[in-house]
Symmetry: C2
Subunit: 205 residues, 2 copies
Amino acid sequence: MATNITWHAGLTRKERTELRKQKGATIWFTGLSASGKSTIATALEQHLLHLGLQTYRLDGDNVRFGLNKDLGFSPKDREENIRRIAEVAKLFADSTTLALTSFISPYKADRELARKLHADTTNTDSPLPFIEVFVDIPVEEAEKRDPKGLYKKARAGEIKEFTGISAPYEAPENAEIHIHSEKTSVEEAVAIITKYLEEKGLLKA
Amino acid sequence: MATNITWHAGLTRKERTELRKQKGATIWFTGLSASGKSTIATALEQHLLHLGLQTYRLDGDNVRFGLNKDLGFSPKDREENIRRIAEVAKLFADSTTLALTSFISPYKADRELARKLHADTTNTDSPLPFIEVFVDIPVEEAEKRDPKGLYKKARAGEIKEFTGISAPYEAPENAEIHIHSEKTSVEEAVAIITKYLEEKGLLKA
């Protein structure tokens, strides 16, 4: 579609990284509704900010009311929802932000697309780290929590195609980080992810 | 479209602003092709980075190859292009980044929408500053520069609906900053914008 345009590098990411003393990356949370994704992502955001790092959390709530407010819940719209989120997370990562995304993202193909976009250098000067965090919880446990009453509505047929009840959740097989959230505290989860980031050199430039 | 979702504030922008010691804002450049928008935005980006500030530049080239690669150049697609850019800039501003956007954005209605979105608090906890920078150049001068040979192609009819030649450019009447780029050096332009940001308290938290 895009014609008559060329890629202007401007400042390189290397220069930005040195000036900001920070690398960018996307930390992609995936898991059932009520698995604890947003709770962990919010706690991680707070922790990273206190470590003096630039970070930002994209989640279904803020993105759905803004960038993706034109999208519904059809399979095609759900796919486009994840694609746009991945592209925006990539821009944040390119800007040297640790981008946290907190979406159910139940389909392997969509998560693989998100990963692939971060490796694609068509519009960035080098690949960006993509870290998948599987927030794993038995569906029975998620249903027991049900803080928003969504499982109840799904069981009553008021919500169609609800992940884990009437629509599939395709569990990641090779997520960089696997958190069993029914037996891991939020603090422990944050510590696990922070340790991973540190080992990968992502807590400094 | 969006149902069954609620807005989770997580950390407030105030908290992020204090922790990052920086406010966010969107600096929206508008002007003809070859007016100098991207050159000034890139120089400003570099200057702000050297001042120790978080900043990121969105431009037609990087966005068109990523987030908006599904969009063409129909009036509807051009409008959606600007809408998405405005929403993404808003997310960056919300993250305490000085977001720089460098797009022709020829239509007043689109720029007004971008401004309105920054004032809208549906998915952020307070309005975000939106600073329109009109990079003003006589079309004859832009055509003389023509670094990408686009005006030449437009005159030859190879590009349809080219802003300033075969499509209108609706000049801003109330831009926060008006730069006459044929008689202002890039350094002067950067100094003018930086001074404005300083006066508005946007170079610190």
